[in-house]
Symmetry: C3
Subunit: 311 residues, 3 copies
């Protein structure tokens, strides 16, 4: 594994998932990362990813440098060949070459803008990091994927020990337009576990065929919930009418009543969650969401450990 | 000691004060905190508390993760049961459960809003941390108390070796309305030292009986200063007309002239201080304020050390 | 060396430059800085300086505390004797005395305001740190000098092994008014290397005689480039019409065509660089700029190492 930015970067995803579960069962401190520095670069806010990745690095004895790039540093230019006489102060090429020269591993978070689909799905920020970094790159969530979250989620599901669970990824309401990254990434990773995956969303919220092409899809949330072992809730804005939030028939909020349709399913969400919008308090309070959050530490630790093998 | 958020959390305050003085006399580095992480969560600005607590943790070999929560992360919701379709992005319950899962000790700073007395004195933010944190909580100043400051102040006074000193807590002017936290906390801690405590403030600036009920109060600043060994200056806004700043008769700025009324008293303040408003330059420049600031490091170190005993 | 804020602080600059080159050739990790804390205080944004100094400190086993002082902490007052009833919250004297009490070495970055030449050239912020800090101070760029950058630049030039190179410091265009700090500092340090130094800038952009007094100056950029071994580009605003940007005849952007006038010169810049304004893409992409940036780490490490000798 040379980078960790997508399911496709991982040669042995099942093995990686097992490593996360092993760390969860036996948290491990080591000096493996001594005199190694991980740089965590944030274009966008972060709580879990920021803290869990720091903690994972510290568990490995690594040094951590955190940078809120637009606040602490200079405004970044992404266009090539531009005459930079506007308000951007440094070209991404220069930024990444320089930062990576001080680090052994580089993490970057940069969200979709939801304005231009082609631009978001080209993953311009992430790909600039991949192009210009001299060290391995970890995605701390990119415009279209969130692999640390999905690795965590697969490990959380696999650790349950349920044989071929029915896993429902259900769209849920949200007051703001959100990227498709978590949903895309979740679907991209499900082949790594033995599960029956169903995608439930209102019309107009179809995901890209790249991720949902082989997945069974329904617009009937209640039908999807029947017999489910895991309900994974997430909001996303439209991929087809890109970034828009078309009107939705019926109430997609996940309630205790809907959970009763399932096979005593466990509720999952990546957090932060809008309580009583995405799901009701009672659903969240009896859920796996905190276990998922804690497992983020072990996922990050497994990934950092594997990337260090290549140094 | 399971938490450190108030004088009432401390079983043996005199012993804790002695530990601070011992650290002051013999600063100590240890590996006691190796592979332990303290998370410092700031809802409000901080200089001394931020730096001294970091330094204290480093002295103990701990790892430190600092988060300016509203800037680096998500806007926090405090109401229970809310339908979160407004601008708050994550419920405090989820925030605290998640953050504490990555830490061994959790510090939090959150000031009073001075809008609603009941809300401030209920210590909603701090109590959410106490309720939902899975690890010991340290107050880095809450709405109504600042125990790390008060522990420091008691240690600074006790280290002077003066037998039963006269200690005056004097209100002083300030251009902005400030919380009562430092004053409340100071009075709450004075029983831990053998001192004659006098509280001097203008009419309208009475503190809560919870803290000032057993303290001798005067509205005559000069009378209070007579024979004093320590003058502790602090501004606060009204507790009775909550958060307001009623007009004050006379000039309460602490000057060299007023200090001459004392028994060569030493001047104390928690900093930051508005020079020539709270006290004149000449008073501040011959004061204990920097010794107090440095003692913050030893107070934090003693507290962290004691909390680690419970891990 | 008691501080590192100017060329004049360094007793043996050649020796220091050699140490930087040695670190570059043999990067060194040590435990020399164990239980030592460096505080890095930023009044202004920073990328390279922030990250390279952190990395250098970590290489030495030091603990690092970073503070964006105006965002994380309190607004700082610089006037002495002021009645602080405005919007500044803490006097620089108090800030520095307190911060330095928690640190073993203190770094500070504070740019010129370009409003008042006397104020900027008096280096008020830096000098307050020097006056009130109880520990050695490192400039992370001050109003008029940037010694870590210049030490780096001298080491980068010296490491080339070219005998008595011709080094041209050339003004170049920029959309905003910038300080003279990098240019001043570069000229101040050139006596430490054996080089033929030429300063090229448009009329109206004369630097202070303090730094440029002994340097050969031309207003003809192309003439300056003839036979040059190093072209060091930098924008600065006017020193004489202080902070202004008088109109410039001709195009001072550094292009591949102009580089052909040189003795196959290597292009240098401190970054961040406005591409296709200061210099064209093709010039930057075949330059020493990333080597310079990486050498910042070794310069900071050499300086920290030397300052620790005094502790």
């Amino acid at each position: 594994m040379n980078h960790f930015t997508s399911f496709e970067d991982v040669e042995h995803p099942q093995k990686l998932i097992r490593q996360v579960i092993e760390l969860k069962n036996n948290p491990l401190f080591s000096e493996r990362g001594k005199q190694k520095t991980v740089g965590l670069i944030f274009f966008n806010p972060s709580l879990r990813t920021r803290l869990s990745t720091q903690k994972a690095a510290l568990n490995l004895g690594m040094d951590v440098i955190v940078l809120n790039i637009n606040k602490d540093s200079w405004k970044v230019e992404f266009e090539d060949g531009t005459v930079m006489n506007g308000d951007t102060q440094e070209h991404i090429k220069d930024t990444v070459k320089v930062i990576s020269s001080y680090c052994d591993i580089l993490g970057v978070r940069s969200f979709a803008t939801l304005k231009d689909r082609r631009e978001d799905y080209e993953e311009r920020v992430l790909n600039n990091f991949l192009t210009y970094s001299s060290v391995p790159v970890i995605s701390l969530e990119s415009a279209t994927l969130h692999p640390l979250q999905s690795l965590t989620d697969m490990a959380t599901i696999a650790a349950s020990g349920i044989t071929r669970p029915k896993v429902v990824l259900s769209w849920a309401p949200h007051p703001k337009a959100l990227p498709q990254a978590v949903a895309n990434s979740f679907l991209q990773w499900t082949p790594a576990i033995d599960a029956d995956v169903v995608l439930a969303h209102p019309e107009g919220y179809e995901l890209s065929d790249t991720f949902a092409g082989n997945i069974s899809v329904t617009h009937n949330q209640e039908e999807a919930f029947a017999g489910a072992d895991f309900i994974y809730a997430k909001n996303w804005s439209s991929y087809t009418s890109y970034g828009e939030t078309p009107a939705v028939d019926g109430d997609w909020t996940i309630t205790a009543g809907k959970m009763e349709l399932t096979n005593r399913a466990q509720f999952m969400h990546c957090l932060p969650i809008r309580r009583n919008v995405v799901a009701s308090d009672s659903v969240i309070d009896r859920s796996l969401v905190y276990r998922q959050a804690k497992n983020r530490e072990f996922a990050a630790q497994a990934v950092l450990h594997n990337l260090m093998e290549t140094l």
